[in-house]
């Protein structure tokens, strides 16, 4: 009897250690500051983001999108690039905020929530953990929508809905208020994080598209403020971007 109890205790300890180890492996520690990582010369290709799948729009959206891209290229060639919201210091919103030039992002897990703060424009998004998502039409359209997350093994899966159509998506492709953003965040190596993002919008996209953002951890980096209070660029009546030049 005593021997059986001993075996039971030993089994329980092994099980507990196993659970702790599994848990430690399952939920990676994403806490900290991360810089966009684009690979490049000399970089390990396994750490750089893999190629994106193409944007396949429904026919009624494809032609206007191509025309818009051509107009943008023509305006840029003239030196009057068509303004993006960023020129007017309007925040990016989701999903663009997750990778802006070289600006880092900070990931802050707390009980029940993971908060992501970006350095560019000091944007904030909140991922509510282990709660159900609302129906699509119940989230008021905005810049960040509503994000819910859960761990699937070592991968943080985040579902976001409620992004309003005027918020630019991947490569400024059009989208509707039916856009669903699914992110899978996973450490691919020590201090290297991939966020694999799938955009699905049955109203606009012929099929979902997937692209990956890669990040490198920046230990000790102190995020700096970004308050857009000296914007000297302005947008003309035709949407072109110009710079206010001082006389003296």
């Amino acid at each position: 009897m005593r021997r059986a109890e001993g075996l039971g205790l030993r089994a329980a300890v092994v099980l507990a250690i196993g659970l702790i180890a599994t848990n430690a492996f399952a939920q990676a520690d994403l806490t900290g500051v991360w810089a966009p990582y684009r690979g490049g010369r000399g970089a390990d290709p396994a750490l750089a983001p893999p190629p994106a799948t193409p944007i396949v729009l429904k026919p009624q959206y494809a032609a206007p999108f191509e025309a818009k891209r051509k107009a943008e290229a023509d305006a840029a060639a003239k030196g009057e690039p068509i303004a993006s919201g960023a020129v007017a210091c309007v925040p990016y919103g989701m999903p663009r905020m997750m990778s802006v030039a070289l600006y880092p992002i900070e990931i802050l897990p707390t009980p029940g929530q993971i908060t992501i703060v970006t350095e560019a424009f000091s944007e904030v998004r909140r991922v509510f953990m282990n709660v159900p998502q609302l129906p699509m039409g119940d989230v008021p359209p905005g810049y960040y929508g509503r994000s819910v997350g859960k761990w699937e093994g070592d991968t943080l899966v985040v579902d976001t809905i409620g992004i309003k159509p005027s918020v630019p998506a991947y490569q400024n492709m059009p989208h509707s208020d039916q856009l669903r953003i699914t992110e899978r965040l996973r450490l691919v190596a020590k201090d290297y994080l991939h966020d694999t993002i799938t955009l699905d919008d049955p109203g606009v996209l012929e099929k979902p598209l997937t692209y990956t953002l890669a990040y490198r951890r920046l230990p000790g980096y102190e995020m700096v403020e970004f308050v857009c209070d000296n914007n000297r660029e302005f947008i003309d009546d035709k949407g072109g971007t110009h710079l206010k030049v001082r006389e003296r």
Binding site: G79, L102, A120, E225
Partner: protein
């Protein structure tokens, strides 16, 4: 080289830089009248003496403080009266505004408009 510079700039700026002619480089040796360490961009205001003796004023756009810090800049690096030599990409419009490419500081350091080659 120009293509490389364009790719680098695209990674540093949060919007299109097509206002500036990145195929042209102009050297501006002058005196700083203001250094604004601000968002979304920092600016250097520069008085540049011309050959005729008349001074021409230039507005030079830089990256944001975050990006400049990554390239070794500090907010106190320049002040009124400092002498610098800047290599810039001018506005396509012909106005005396430009995007900084690199600059020789009063202490001789050469700084760029962002962290070149950082991965």
């Amino acid at each position: 080289m120009i293509a490389l510079c364009s790719m680098l700039l695209a990674g540093l700026l949060h919007h299109s830089f097509a206002m500036f002619d990145t195929t042209k480089q102009v050297t501006l040796a002058g005196t700083v009248t203001a250094f604004e360490w601000t968002n979304p961009h920092a600016y250097i205001e520069l008085d540049v003496p011309g050959e005729s003796g008349a001074t021409k004023h230039w507005t030079i756009e830089l990256g944001s403080p975050s990006i400049l810090q990554q390239a070794g800049w500090k907010f106190k690096d320049l002040k009124f009266g400092d002498k610098v030599t800047a290599i810039v990409n001018p506005l396509k419009s012909g106005q005396s505004g430009a995007l900084l490419s690199r600059i020789t500081m009063p202490d001789g350091r050469v700084l760029t408009n962002g962290p070149a080659g950082r991965q």
